[in-house]
Symmetry: C2
Subunit: 538 residues, 2 copies
């Protein structure tokens, strides 16, 4: 067979011809911006050439500090095509971490959204490696204190439109993304061209996301998070229409986009879908979601009650996806296998709360504390290990790599059971388990049960210190707007009492306005643990 | 990302766990044979070990001379897993070619079906490299004059069941298949592990065959032909049920299998589908084909009339696939792209006669006689060139390679036009065009028009020598059984007259009982040309 490296730019080379007129739609303050795949090719070519003019060379890191929009997408292709590395920077990081990762990555250029410029301006003096800032705005008069700042559109209009891709080794780096660490600084994951291509080929398979040419794909997941779940790449591979949420998407604008663009597949963390549902309920508005073939939800476990509500109330299928920054990210996708067609509706609903079977192309192990393999019986829990061609083998230039990548396996830190069909059921992160009197209590199991209460919007269960039992569970509950100040501790505990051993039951319930979220929208239990470390249960 | 070679045996490692109870069904003389993916894993492991006992080593070629059945499938995985090369031998080759390819491949072992043993027995003395023959039969008393012959089941029952795969470089050879050449001996194509894996990942994508876990796949295409279009591999990748046709499948047994096994996807050359339709019409029987999501037809162009009849009469979608031995084989698959949804039903039908858009992952060019690129305007015709990771870069140990593989491109010899959407419309093989008075006449266009006549079963148009025009077209027509001896030359020519310039019209029509077919079921025009080289048109 031919020696033919798997390279990210092949995607756009294909879609700009075979899907030349298909669109990239970006939500803007007033209306939408529309361009075609042919436009995307032309403009990303100009961006490559502009970056080369600024001195970006093969292997250099180019940062993006931006929302989801067409210019960000142009960078997704322009940077790897020239052999440079796209470093998508999380716009919600704390300032210290921001400085750390930009310096650690040695970004040479940063592409930044105008509304995010104020975050970078005070840090510029600490960002020694950055030689140029490019502000992604139409406003040619935009001013900033950032040194060596350029206007994106000025650069593009001055740049050559000659397409000069580098056909490098497929193992060359194409992307870089930092993941928040439990302790210490964020850790970087380098994505190779080969990894991205194989991951995209998998997301286009019917048994996973099945992204196809006729899809209209709306990722709510930020483009700075784990390659936006790979969706911009996979969509370009097949020529699917892409809809991007622009600056600060809110539930209402997401609903509008689904309806007006006839979105067929949307993807985001559960918090997004809770918010969308809440908006619909509170506003009393109805939207036409009939174009949606499914919603993919990942990043944290989706409560079954949410899946059921979407089905009953909106006739929308919510499918669990599971993955992480270290795995590009797709690990599993809960498309029901044929062997489970005979389940009752109740059993099917229960199953939809699982993370689904491992996608083809990867390998998985389940191990106990001693590193021994555990049976896939749907009961016993252990840590999940993965390996495969789109799983990282280390963190970028980080001594902590050896804690996570051991003997060729990525140790995920996720506690789960796996059933005989290979369905993954995530319990907790190792660090989120409550260890009471030497026994493990799953915070996720408790949360899932609590959130099924109709008056509960969100719930997080955390471990708080206890003199006798070392740790005990505390439930932090956000009531629905209609029930604020009305829902009681007893109601919550009574609702779940039948499902758990008495020693699993939370010692107390606190009612709060919202669950703090991490920069990628997951529950930030670290903050809750700090807040309630001296909590006295009543 | 991890260094993780793409290897064929990963497929079975996955499906024997994740789809352990899914079935491989083989049609037998009486009833069906059924085994699971777990069984397939166990038995293919035993076969690997048995072959190793016989002296098969990494890189050695193991031939198969067999129909489609579970033992053949066991060899599909056993041989590459041990690092050896699976050489699927075409059972319909002429004796001279058989001897040539087995010697050229230096097959060390040949796995042979009992009913095909009589073909090999007289050749054994010429097959110097073959050290062992393994007869794939339950009959332990089967006797043969083949030297060093073994019974397949005896070998398996004596072999170890210890799984000892070789995790070799992904570019290592896994398969070998010879393709018939226009002139001279067959030419061998070597398939790498990497090529097969990437090809399978593509066939599992929704925009191509979309083979998924819940499919029940029935390949009618022989397992000795171009990896059975890759279907046994792709099915194992996703864990789909496989239905195999056994010895000498006929249209009736194909209909029975579709109905009884609830087949969702079946694949074969147009001749098969003509035969199936003819069987249904003639027998007056009706079958339940409601499980079929589509039929894939390839190997030669499918007449639009056949597509329409399947839709109207059986409510079955026939989708054109296009490919060749040199490309593993999938090149294009005619799944309609969204941009063409607004076509009229008539235009859609017309479009279904095309070979569809190039699958993602490959590249294509269209060139004229001088090697210049031709516009993709749906009008101009040229030769198709391909490249990509599952396209061959040479023929195995063959000086003719340099005629076909030029500057990194595979020159297919197929004449086609490509439209602005990238849809391929195959005209003729270069060698099948009729050159009349210096102008090209497409035999395929004429055939397609003739076969639309309701009284015509099959039609082939060939060039016959002509004193003045050098060549002129002759139509060879097989009438439907009801019209044999009744259909006239005038009726045929009048039927197509409106569609062609007068000089394109065949000079004569001859009525024959059947069109001679090549070993893979394509029209063998070489035989017709010889038969009619002195034909005098009336």
């Amino acid at each position: 067979m031919m020696e033919y490296p798997l390279l990210v730019h092949r995607f756009l080379e294909r879609s700009s011809v075979f899907s030349a007129h298909k669109e990239i739609v970006t939500r803007e303050e007033h209306g939408t911006h529309r361009q075609t795949y042919a436009d995307l090719m032309t403009r990303s070519t100009r961006l490559s050439n502009a970056l080369a003019e600024l001195g970006v060379d093969q292997g250099d890191r180019v940062g993006t500090f931006a929302w989801n929009h067409y210019r960000h997408l142009e960078a997704y292709f322009a940077v790897p095509t020239m052999g440079a590395v796209l470093h998508t920077i999380n716009i919600r990081l704390f300032v210290d971490d921001l400085v750390y990762i930009i310096n650690h990555a040695s970004d040479k250029v940063i592409l930044v959204d105008p509304d995010l410029v104020p975050i970078l301006e005070p840090l510029a003096s600490c960002l020694k490696s950055v030689e140029h800032y490019i502000v992604m705005t139409d406003d040619r008069n935009f001013t900033t204190t950032l040194p060596s700042a350029h206007n994106y559109e000025d650069l593009l209009s001055e740049a050559s439109d000659k397409y000069s891709p580098l056909y490098l080794d497929e193992n060359a780096p194409a992307g870089l993304c930092y993941t928040s660490a439990t302790t210490g600084r964020p850790k970087g994951v380098v994505y190779s061209h080969r990894g991205i291509v194989l991951h995209s080929m998998t997301e286009a398979q019917t048994d996973t996301m099945g992204i196809r040419e006729r899809d209209v794909v709306l990722p709510i997941v930020p483009m700075f998070h784990a390659n936006c779940w790979g969706v911009p790449f996979t969509s370009a591979l097949v020529g699917a229409t892409q809809v991007l949420t622009g600056v600060r998407p809110d539930p209402e604008s997401i609903c509008h986009l689904i309806e007006s663009e006839k979105v067929t597949l949307s993807l985001g963390v559960p918090t997004i879908w809770v918010g969308v549902l809440d908006h619909i309920t509170r506003s009393g508005r109805s939207y036409d979601f009939s174009s949606l073939r499914e919603i993919a939800s990942g990043g944290s476990a989706v409560p079954i009650s949410l899946i059921q509500t979407y089905k009953d109330q909106l006739d929308v299928n919510v499918v669990q996806a599971y993955g992480m920054t270290e795995s590009s990210p797709l690990i599993s996708y809960n498309r029901r296998i044929s062997q489970l067609d005979d389940l009752t509706e109740g059993e099917k609903l229960q199953l939809s709360g699982s993370q689904g079977p491992l996608v083809s192309g990867l390998e998985m192990r389940l191990i106990d504390d001693q590193g021994n393999d555990i049976a896939w019986d749907g009961e016993q829990r252990g840590e999940l290990l993965f390996r495969g061609p789109w799983v990282a083998d280390s963190y970028y230039d980080d001594v902590r790599s050896s804690e996570t990548f051991i003997d060729g396996w990525y140790h995920s830190g996720d506690i789960a059971s796996v059933d005989a069909n290979g369905y993954i059921q995530i319990g907790d992160r190792v660090k989120d388990m409550v260890k009471s009197g030497g026994e493990w209590i799953s915070s996720v199991d408790l949360e899932t049960a609590i959130i099924a209460h109709p008056a509960v919007l969100e719930a997080a269960v955390i471990a708080i210190p206890h003199e006798r039992w070392v740790e005990r569970p505390l439930a932090c509950v956000v009531p629905n707007s209609d029930f604020q100040g009305k829902l009681t501790k007893t109601e919550v505990l009574d609702f779940i009492r039948d499902q758990f051993a008495s020693w699993w039951m939370p010692d107390d319930v606190v009612f709060i306005d919202e669950i703090p979220k991490t920069s990628v929208g997951k529950f930030d239990k670290k903050i809750l643990r700090e807040r309630y470390q001296n909590h006295q249960s009543k």
